[in-house]
Structure formats: structure tokens, C-alpha cells
């Protein structure tokens, strides 16, 4: 039994079957990649895991508890953090403030009225945030306005915001899209290191096969809303069905 168990999930958008009978089991402390052509339903699947969408049928269990019917903040408090396909950060805030908010959420829960104490007296949280920024090589940017950064930096910031919460399950939706090659490699190294050091399960959607094969222990191929195969990276590489799915999409 995996930490994440998706059973018979269906999701329709009007006439479009975005997810059809999706079953997925992600084992604890592994990295599971979900690949597939554009429009396969990968992001839709993640949306069903974090409470952004509610599946029409099926069940989603995390850590032995159902996530269905819970709000996004409750699901996050259960231990799931998500990086979005288009970076979602607090653009009007500084990089440091962006990092502090998940730290507060982790320490104080979904609501705490600290109306008087200064943010800057929170030395413990600040150290945590700075340490995480150091790990993603962004410490020098901590005073910058988040909106003024490059797309790649925004992605790294969002990932750092998720990692600093020490989630049990980290969901990454194309975390390296729009990154320079060097930053992509840094991201791979960072994720590898995090995986070794911490107990963390990662589910990653990625088009960059270099990233997928560097990180994933299992791969699920999704096409037209349905899982085609699930196997180890070695077996997926030459799988005829996988080639067909991608080529079929290209044709």
C-alpha cells in the first residue's frame, strides 16, 4: 500500500473525458514520474489530489486518509505541497517573505493571529527560510520583489517554498520548464539530495526526459486520461505503447 492511492478516478469536463479510470499507487519515499503528451490529463490528475478539482467518481487516499472533500489548505496541512505548471508565488512580496509564509503555515497551522509581533523577530523561521534559499542558490535574491524575477527563478522559489514545509508528498508539475540547462541540472541535484536526506515522496510531471530518467524510480504513462503503462524507467524507455502514445500525438 502506497502513501498515495488513487482508485478509479474519473473526471469529465463537459464532453471531454479528462481522466478515465485512473489508478495510481505511489510508494512511500520514492520518486514517481507521470509522463504523457500534452492534454493527457496530467495536471488534471494533480488538481484532483490537492483539492483544486473534485473527481466525478473514485477515491484518493493519502497516508490512509481520504483527501476528497477537503479544502486545499487542509490537504497541504496533511503534508502535500504542490508546485504549479505556471509559477504561483506572491509577486508583490519579497523573496524572503515568500519563503516565510510557508514556514508560518507549517509552524502555526492554517490560521494564527500574530498581529503585533514583528515578522523580523522570528529568527528561527528566518534561519529556516535562509537555509532553504541557500540550498536553491537564491540567498542573494532574498530582498528582491518576487514578481521581478525570471521565470526560472520563480520556479525555483516556488519549489523552495514547498520544500521548506518538509512535505511528506511533493507534487511537481513541470518544475524545470523554462529553466536554463544549468538550472535544470541544479534542480535535479537538489531533488536527489532532498530525497536522500529526508523522508519525502515525490510525484513529478515532466516533459524533459533527462529529468525523468535522472530522478524517477517508477514511471506512469498517461494518454487521453488513462494510464497506459506503469513500470521502471528501464522498461519504459523502449516500450512500444509509449512510443505509440507520443508518436500518435505528434502525427
Amino acid at each position: 500500500m502506497g502513501i498515495l492511492e488513487v482508485k478509479d478516478v474519473n473526471k469529465r469536463f463537459g464532453g471531454l473525458q479528462a481522466l478515465g479510470n485512473v489508478n495510481l499507487s505511489v510508494a512511500e519515499n520514492t520518486c514517481h514520474a507521470i509522463i504523457g503528451p500534452n492534454g493527457a490529463g496530467k495536471s488534471t490528475l494533480l488538481n484532483c489530489l490537492v483539492g483544486k478539482l473534485i473527481p466525478d467518481t473514485g477515491s484518493v487516499m493519502f497516508d490512509g486518509q481520504s483527501v476528497l472533500g477537503r479544502t486545499p489548505f487542509e490537504i497541504n496541512q496533511m503534508g502535500i505541497s504542490r508546485v504549479f505548471q505556471t509559477p504561483e508565488i506572491f509577486g508583490d512580496l519579497t523573496v524572503m517573505e515568500n519563503m516565510l509564509i510557508p514556514c508560518f503555515a507549517k509552524r502555526d497551522g492554517s490560521f494564527a493571529l500574530h498581529g503585533i509581533r514583528s515578522v523580523f523577530s522570528e529568527t528561527g523561521l528566518r534561519e529556516q527560510a535562509e537555509q532553504m534559499l541557500e540550498e536553491v542558490n537564491m540567498l542573494d535574491k532574498r530582498h528582491m520583489h518576487a514578481a521581478s524575477m525570471s521565470r526560472g527563478d520563480k520556479r525555483r522559489l516556488e519549489m523552495a517554498m514547498c520544500l521548506v514545509q518538509k512535505p511528506k508528498l511533493l507534487l511537481l508539475d513541470e518544475p524545470t520548464a523554462g529553466m536554463a540547462r544549468a538550472d535544470t541540472n541544479n534542480t535535479i541535484d537538489l531533488l536527489k539530495e532532498i530525497k536522500e536526506k529526508r523522508n519525502i515522496t515525490i510525484a513529478i510531471i515532466e516533459h524533459d526526459m533527462h529529468v525523468v530518467f535522472s530522478l524517477a524510480e517508477r514511471i506512469t504513462v498517461l494518454a487521453q486520461g488513462t494510464p497506459l503503462v506503469e513500470d521502471t524507467p528501464e522498461n519504459i524507455k523502449g516500450h512500444p505503447k509509449v512510443k505509440e502514445a507520443y508518436l500518435g500525438e505528434a502525427a
Binding site: V50, T71, P72, F73, N76, Q77, S81, R82, F84, E88, I89, F90, G91, D92, L93, T94, M96, E97, L100, I101, P102, F104, A105, K106, G109, S110, F111, A112, L113, H114, G115, I116, R117, S118, V119, F120, E122, H143, H145, M161, Q165
Partner: protein, 399 residues
Amino acid sequence: MFGLDKKDASLLLIVAVLVAFAPFFLNPFPEGSAMAQFNAGYPDLMQRFVIFGIFAIGFNILFGLTGYLSFGHAAFLGVGSYAAVWMFKLLSMNVIPAIILAVIVAGIFALIIGYVSLRRSGIYFSILTLAFAQMSFALAYSVLTPITGGETGLQLALNDPRILSAATTGGNIPVPALFGFEMRSSTQWAVGDWLFTFNVGYYFAAIIMLCSFYLSIRIFRSPFGMMLRAIKSNQQRLNYTGLNSRPYTLAAFVISGMYAGLAGGLMASMDPLAGAERMFWTASGEVVLMTILGGVGTLIGPVLGAGLIKYMENIISKINSDILHTWFAFLPDGLEDVVVTLIYPFIGKGWHLTLGIVFMLVVIFLPGGLVEGGQRVSRLFGRKKKAHDPKNATTEPAE
């Protein structure tokens, strides 16, 4: 100082000094001179400066930080006024219990209205708050006449119980006071042709305004304030980061409602009557204008905006055509009439026209309000950035 960093502390200090010496530099022109009508240093107006300053500071905690635009904040001001007057009628003429009750009642009111209105965001939230405020107005104006005095408003009477005060001797209705200091009493000081007025009510309201301002700085710099700014910036990210935005916005709504109630209670303390028109939607719109005019989301902006609007309301509206004729008497007769005719629509009752033009100019050319104007001027003179710079205001102090 007081748990503030250097920039914020100096801003607070500057405001405190300005407020303390306001009776002097709001009266820069000698009595009887042609310019004397531009003097704003009389108690009534100075009280309004600080009271509406409080109102706008509180409004800015909601609008400036979370971006939720309430169009019904005057309802809380009105409720605060009614609560305070009832306290004067039933308990005593001491302003402290009146103000405390005003804040509490406005807070409860805000909790109810906020709880319902915050189920929606954007324009729907604004419309909901507007609807609630207009309902409150209608209630106060007619339905609840026994409590609110209806059209005539709520006034004090000689035979009010006032259980904590000694029976009033003589036939006068007592006036609000702070342990014997009557709010309306003033001392005047003549220096040459100048006349300066020091009013108890003004200084009392000013001290409360400074406390409110200090509290708002603390809120801006607190984790709570940071969460509110995060809500404005990206509510979706906040929710996926494990934070429930609803109680944060509700807390901000209630706090700003309590600020409004405080302002309403102070208004009633200066002049112990309350009328439904204080809750009318134009009054709610006014505080929006004040905040935008001064600079949304800046610390000092709302106070400046409140000051500017109240100054224009009281000074420009007093200019009449005779005064215009004396000003332009140096022009040839025909030309004088033309100039006076051109300016006339913008003065007296037409001061709203002037306000409208000023507002448009500010929104178009200074989207950051008067605070941005101040920054541009100070940059022009190559001075160091001011403490109330909104960009600096969101960044960290140097380590």
C-alpha cells in the same frame, strides 16, 4: 523604539510632532488678513482631520493590505456614533466608556457583515458591503427610530438617566468630558496678529489617532499583515501553502470595522449627536477616496488623504463669489467677471467638482497617491528616500 525599526519609528515621530503642533501651522495666516480663510487651525476642523484619519487608517488595513474594497464602512462609523451617544444618555458623559462601547459594537457588527460578505470576493464583495450599509442606513433612518432617533438623529436630553453621573444642576445638558476636561473647551493664545486655538477634544482625538497609527504600523509589520498582503498578491498560492484565507480576511475586516467604530465614537464625543446620514453610501465612498488619494497600502497615505479631503470640504466650500471678486480685483473689470464666472462652479457648493478633478489627476498621474507625489518631489531634490516609501515599506530593514 516601541518595537519599530528606525524608519517606522521616525515616521511615527514626525506624525506625532505634526499633530502636536497642528494648531500652529494650520493657522499660518494672521487673523483678519485676506488669506485667513485658508486657516484650518480651528477645533472643529482639526478634530475632523484626526478622526477621519483614524477612519482611513482602519480602512487601509482592509483595502490596502488585502485588496478587499469595502463600500460600506460608514455603517460601522455610524454604529459607533450611536453606541457612544447611548452611553452618554444612559451611563455618564465620560468619553472613555462611550468610545469603548463604540468599538465593541462596531466590531460585532463588522463580524456579522464580514462573515457574510467575505463569502465573495472582488466586485461581489463590494456590492454586498454596500447593500449591508444601505440596509443599516434604512434601518437607522426609519425602522429603528426608537433607538436611532430616525430623521432627527439621536440627541441628548436633560432627563436622560446617566446613572453614573451626579444629577445635573442647572438647566443645561451636560457635555462629553474626560474626567472633568470638557471636550469642547479651548484655550486661545494670541501672538501678534496670530491666534492659535488649543482644544481639549482635538488633543484627545489626536492621542487616540497616534495610538491607532502606531497599532497599524505594528499590524503592517506583523506576520498577520504579511498574510494579508499575501492574500492580495495570490490567494490561490496562500491556500495551497496551507493557510486558510477566510479568517485572515475576516480578522482584517473586523479590525478595520473597529477603527471605524472608534472614529464614530470620537465624533460623538466631540459633538454628542448621531444621525443616519453618517451611514449613507456617500460617506462610505469618501473613505475610499481618502485612501486612494493618499496612497493605498502605504502607512501615512490614508491620513494625508483624509486631511486633504476634509480641508477641501471645509475651506473651498466656504469661498464665495464676493471673495473671488476681491481676489481678482486687480484685473480689468470685464476680465475679472470672466475669471470669477469660470472659477465660480468649483467653489462653495461646487467643491465636489474640485475634489473630482483632483482625484482624477491623482489617479492618472500619481497612482500611488500623495505619498508617491511626495516621493517624486523628494527624489527631485535628490534627498534620501523617505520612510513612508511604499516600496521600502514592504522590504526588510537592512541587517
